[in-house]
Every structure is written in C-alpha cells, then in structure tokens.
Symmetry: C2
Subunit: 204 residues, 2 copies
C-alpha cells in the first residue's frame, strides 16, 4: 500500500502502531482478555482511543495484528521460530516430536498462551475474525506440516495413499483439543505419544 | 440439596428454571452469544433479572446448565443420543465412523452449534467454566470412546500397548480442531478419513 505521508508522520504512526501492539499483548497477559478494552490499550500505549478506532475495527483485530507482528519479530531475530522452519533430519518421528514438543512449550508459555486463547475464543464465535486467525496465523504453520509429510511420502516414510493436509490434523488436532479445552495436562510425553500413535496407528 | 419450600413454590421455580433454559438456548441460536445477555434471557423467559442472578453466577453458567438439560431431555426421549450409547458391532472402524459421522451432523446443526461454540469459547478464556464444560459435557462422552477402545483391545482389534484415553484424542481431536477453528469443511468423508488414518497409521 502506498504511503504518501511525509517520512516523519509515517515514522510517528509506525511507532504508535507498535506501542498499541505492545500494550495489547502486555494487557492480555497481565489482566486477561475481558479487561483488555480499547480504553485500556489506548491508555497504556499513550494514544487517544480514536487512533485505535481509526485503524482497527475491534480489540480482537488489534490483538491479532499484534500477535502476527510478534511472530514476525521472533522470526526475524532467530530465523527458527517454528512457523518459519520445520526440521527434516530424515527421521519423520523424531522431527514431528521435536516440533510438537516445541509447540507444547509455546502453548504452556503465558506470554503466548493468553493472546492465543483470546484470539481462538473470539474466532470460535466470530467467523470473520476466525477466518483471519486461521489465514494469518494457523494455516501457514499447518502448511509446513503438510510439506514435511509430503517429503516423508517421497522418502517412503509415510503412506503414499494419505492426503498430507488431512493427515497433519491427527498431529495438531489432539494437541489443540487438549490445550484449548484443558482436558488433561499438555506435556512432552503426550506429544511423543501422539506422534507414535499417529504414525503406527491404533490397530494391531 | 434439600428443598424446604412448599410443593407449589418448588414447581413454580422448576418451571421458571426451564423457561430460562429455553430462553437462553433460543436466544443464542437466534441472535448469537454476544447478544444473549442476562437482560435478554430474563425478558424472553418472563422473569425478573434478579431471579437469574440469584440462581446463576453468569450467562455462561445459565447456558451450560441449559445445554446439559437439553442433552438429558434428548437422552430421555430417544435413549440413543450418542452420549448414552456407543455402538459395538464388533467392527471397530465401522462403529467409530458411525459415531464420528453423527458428531459431524450434530456439530453442523445450528441448534447445537451455537451453544456449543459459545460455551467452548467461554471455557477457553475462563478456566473455571471450562472445567465445568469438560466435566459435565465433554468427558462423559470421551469415556464412551475409551470404553469402546478397551473392548477393541480385548477383541484384538486395537493395539494392546496404547492408552485408550490418549488414543481417543486422535479421533475427536481432529474433528474438534476443524470444527472450532473452521479450517476446512466438516464432512462425513472427513470423519471416515480420520478413522482410517488413525487405525492404520500414517507410516507405511
């Protein structure tokens, strides 16, 4: 998108945008999503409420953009944030366990957990936000699973007759289910068991 | 809980409770959860707001109780609502496909979808409500999967070395993931593919 404002104004609004992102992420982790209102975000970022209303349709939209930005910054710093790279050591089980264990750690990390839960919950009752959440945050990482499973098919480590886009849901579905609904603890042992069960199957 | 009120008062409050349940379920399906306020429920049920505040701590608590009651009424009428009976024809794959297909139909039914989504979303950000949702609605039906998998183990149709409580998540996890996050369409074909993939495994 072309920005015809003079460089100073553009820089100022970029810095306000960043302050608003940081305020939204900090608030949701500190006081919870129900109390992360537009008013609270504006106060913490040191901007007027109108600035936020001008740029975003809802607090969920602010949080989604902030969270996407967080992922991009992490990727820029480390180059290996899990949504950017999927290991391929040639051992499918080991690679899947490494990624699912890292996902378990991330989901158990309060800094990620609070905004992810808030966005997932909003998306569940708001189809438009849900679609944006899936498109911007979820699907790109799911495609990395699909690519790894396709490589495994080519290497003869995964059945040729499965659709990788469906098969990956046997890995991420159970983790997400247990995490979102808090049915039982989300541990590395669980991640390993899911990979073993999914690869070997439940039938004898 | 002992009820020392005279029979008439008890009958009246039972009928008010039922009217409140029905109002909550109807509103969430018609206008969505965000607009299903305590005020709206009270108006539709023809009771005062204070009646609702006296009996429930939140609108989510009203909806959860209403939804549990709905399941109990359905079970009382048909005796076969899926949370009461799990088929055991001796063919594990066929039985799992029948149950997952019925679950797909239920999740795609607007009368079930709206309250289930609303309760799941509330539970995701509210651990106390989430625990109640899992305990009263989810875990009883998960235990039926576990029992069916144990029977399959005894019949030699499922591996002896799996924990049924973990294994069932390979079946319900993917369905729940796809449904809650609306990543892709939830169909009978998908239910069948999940059962086939989970039983045979992704490895060759």
């Amino acid at each position: 998108m072309a920005d015809n404002r003079p460089p100073d104004a553009s820089r100022r609004s970029e810095s306000a945008r960043r302050a608003i992102h940081d305020a939204a992420l900090a608030l949701v982790a500190e006081v919870g999503y129900p109390r992360t209102t537009i008013e609270a975000i504006a106060a913490r970022a040191g901007v007027g409420k109108q600035t936020i209303y001008r740029w975003w349709p809802s607090r969920a939209a602010v949080l989604l953009e902030a969270f996407v930005g967080l992922g991009e910054r992490a990727a820029g710093q480390s180059g290996t944030d899990g949504t950017q790279a999927f290991p391929d050591t040639g051992d499918l089980a080991a690679d899947l366990k490494a990624v699912l264990r890292a996902t378990v750690d991330e989901l158990n990390d309060p800094a990620f957990e609070a905004p992810t839960r808030a966005l997932a919950a909003e998306g569940i009752v708001d189809p438009r936000l849900g679609a944006e959440f899936v498109q911007k945050l979820l699907e790109p990482s799911l495609q990395l699973y699909a690519a790894r499973l396709r490589a495994a098919q080519e290497a003869g480590q995964a059945r040729a007759d499965i659709d990788p886009r469906t098969a990956l849901e046997l890995l991420v579905g159970p983790l997400t289910h247990r995490w979102l609904l808090r049915t039982l603890p989300l541990t590395h042992e669980y991640a390993d068991a899911i990979v073993d069960h999914a690869l070997r199957g439940l039938a004898p």
